[in-house]
């Protein structure tokens, strides 16, 4: 296992990139701490697979370096990096049994037979497949095949990192939970460095210690699930994470006062702004309906079972609020208030920290 360092890493598929738009991956410096589980989260085409392929060595970056434990591996081929990768579609060797599949990477590395047998048994126990060791791999279900490809990586003791490229895409929904839980347990028990690429926020937030959110070839935030939820560093993170995503209002900010759609309210603290386009972001969970605050109009109510999503119109800007399942939702006119600490201020899409420091969020939902 190893610490993976990305040093001024950037990649362009073009020969002579000029502007930032030419880069599939914008310049990035980051340490992947040894033994942590990371999720790389972002929409399709945001560069997350590019980044993963650079780490695994399937792609040589056009700029910058990749280091494993301080050793430069930028130009080292995949086979010599000692990493394991689980792909979107299960890769198993069809003509081999499960046992032969698990032994394959070790046999290619010319380990002694007895040691191979030992390790295969051990890894089969880890992935819970001892019972099917002598079955042909081609007849197994997709989730079992994914476990085999994971096992082929873990069978090597010295593996530097386990990489996952949207590994649950072809897995049945009821198996997804189970596999993800098993992955988490494996990580907890054996402490491999894991990097997990996905576009599914639930997968990312439940799997990872740290989530790396990517957007348009750029890493926009690296943080724990809580940080991403409460303090999205970029409006994209606010919008992409959460269901529904964060409400963003065009706002004018003057000292400690903010004005949304003609109504002024107090922010409680000042912000060091540089004169860019300002927005206020509030998660639907941190909005209260009542008789005080900003006047809004209810346009639609969606009952999703656990709670209700109320769609409102706030002086021409659409917004959503989450209220408890039993809460009464007024028809038409109402007022909205923001929970203390649940307000984030953005300037040109990037978050600006309040001068007084972040206040803790008072409470999530009324229902919770």
């Amino acid at each position: 296992m190893a610490k993976i360092t990305l040093d001024s890493l950037a990649h362009s598929y073009l020969n002579d990139p000029q502007s930032p738009e030419d880069f599939a991956l914008q310049e990035l410096n980051h340490d992947w701490v040894d033994g942590e589980a990371y999720a790389l989260l972002g929409p399709s085409g945001c560069g997350k697979s590019t980044l993963l392929n650079i780490i695994s060595g399937l792609l040589i970056p056009s700029h910058g370096r990749v280091l494993f434990d301080g050793k430069d591996v930028t130009h080292l081929p995949t086979a010599d990096r000692n990493i394991a990768q689980v792909f979107q579609f299960p890769v198993v060797y069809d003509t081999m049994t499960v046992r032969e599949n698990l032994a394959f990477p070790l046999r290619n590395r010319k380990l002694p037979q007895s040691e191979i047998a030992d390790r295969v048994i051990r890894v089969a126990r880890m992935i819970d497949m001892e019972g099917v060791l002598d079955r042909r791999a081609s007849g197994l279900t997709a989730d079992a095949k994914q476990k085999i490809s994971l096992g082929r990586g873990m069978v090597r003791d010295d593996v530097n990192a386990l990489l996952f490229d949207e590994p649950l895409t072809v897995i049945d929904p009821h198996m997804k939970w189970e596999l993800r839980t098993q992955l988490k347990k494996l990580h907890h028990d054996f402490g491999h460095t894991m990097i997990y690429v996905t576009h599914d926020q639930t997968e990312a937030l439940t799997f990872a210690d740290k989530v790396v959110v990517m957007y348009d070839g750029r890493v926009v935030q690296i943080g724990t699930p809580d940080e991403l939820f409460e303090r999205p560093a970029h409006t994209f993170v606010g919008y992409f994470i959460g269901s529904p995503g964060m409400n963003l209002f065009d706002a004018q900010i003057d000292g400690t006062k903010a004005r949304i759609a003609g109504t002024q309210f107090d922010l409680g603290t000042g912000y060091a702004l540089k004169g860019g386009k300002t927005k206020i972001g509030v998660r639907p969970e941190f909005i209260r309906l009542g008789h005080h605050g900003l006047p809004a109009r209810v346009t639609r109510v969606e009952d999703v079972g656990r709670h209700k999503i109320v769609r409102l119109d706030l002086g021409g800007q659409e917004m959503s609020a989450i209220v408890g399942e039993g809460a009464a939702v007024p028809d038409g006119g109402t007022h909205v208030q923001f929970v203390e600490g649940g307000v984030n201020v953005y300037e040109d899409d990037w978050r600006v920290s309040p001068e007084r420091g972040d206040a803790p969020v008072a409470a999530k939902t009324e229902a919770a």
Partner: protein, 290 residues
């Protein structure tokens, strides 16, 4: 609910008539000939199974069958590995991939008798490029006289004509393998041979079954190319089953024996193809099931 509606029969009638006229009736005529004897004047006499017994005891037929089996065996042994080798070395995408595909398809587009004619001229010692070159090099090559020269030419011709088919099918099989397999193999440090043995070959299996079946059936029925090239000679050296059959049926006008012969010929191809198919699909099942 069940309704008695016989109208459906009228809907399949056209197909029945078509199949009857194109396959069943001609085949039955052959069956009819095979159990009768004729001395001309359209007079036929019942002969029972005599022709079949005759043919089964005929050395001529067994010899032709033997040559046929050897021929099909040799061309399969050359064309299948060669086709796979060519497919593995073809470019995966871009201009050269299309170029190679067109190049590979060319031999397949040439009619059989033209192929025969091309090689007949190509191999001639007096004016043919191949024949003249070999002759000048001091090699004793004359496909109209030498046994080995005739066989070598017929086999080379078939390989030239049909390896493309195997290569194209194998190429299609290779193209359908997702990149992830190759990447996983790299991570597992698999050798080039292991990639072929455990990824490419298993994935090509389906198309290779089809390729082998097609090449077997086609080569077992080969007629035009050797007929144009050698006419079955020298002697009977390249007289394969079809050539022998035509000699018997049209040359000697022995309708009865030729009919019996062709029925047995038909059965042999069908049985071998059937057995081959069953074996291949059973292997597949074993692999998938357990």
């Amino acid at each position: 609910m069940k309704t008695d509606n016989q109208k459906a029969w009228f809907l399949v009638l056209p197909v029945l008539i078509l199949v009857a006229f194109s396959a069943v009736i001609p085949l039955m005529t052959v069956v009819n000939y095979s159990v009768q004897d004729t001395f001309g004047n359209n007079q036929f006499f019942w002969a029972g199974l005599a022709w079949f017994e005759d043919m089964l005891g005929s050395e001529r037929m067994w010899n032709a069958l033997g040559r046929q089996i050897v021929f099909s065996g040799i061309i399969l042994a050359i064309e299948v590995p060669l086709g796979i080798f060519v497919a593995l070395n073809m470019p995966k995408k871009g201009f050269w991939a299309s170029f190679c595909l067109v190049l590979m398809s060319l031999p397949l587009l040439i009619p059989w008798n033209v192929v025969g004619t091309i090689w007949q001229i190509f191999g001639r010692v007096d004016i043919g490029l191949l024949g003249y070159t070999l002759d000048s090099l001091g090699i004793d090559y004359n496909y109209t006289q030498g046994f080995y020269a005739a066989w070598a030419t017929v086999i080379t011709m078939d390989v030239w004509h049909w390896t493309s088919l195997v290569a194209l099918l194998a190429y299609a099989g290779l193209q359908s393998i997702p990149d992830a397999y190759y990447q996983a193999a790299k991570i597992d440090q698999a050798s080039r041979w292991a990639v072929f043995r455990y990824i490419e070959l298993p994935k090509m299996r389906g198309v290779l079954t089809i390729a082998i079946l097609l090449r077997f059936m086609d080569s077992f029925k080969i007629y035009t190319e050797p007929f144009v090239l050698t006419g079955g000679g020298p002697g009977n050296a390249t007289t394969f089953l079809s050539i022998d059959l035509v000699k018997m049926a049209l040359g000697q006008f022995d309708l009865g024996p030729a009919a019996a012969f062709s029925l047995m010929y038909f059965l042999v191809i069908m049985v071998i193809s059937y057995v081959f198919y069953i074996v291949m699909t059973n292997l597949d099942k074993e692999e998938g099931g357990k």
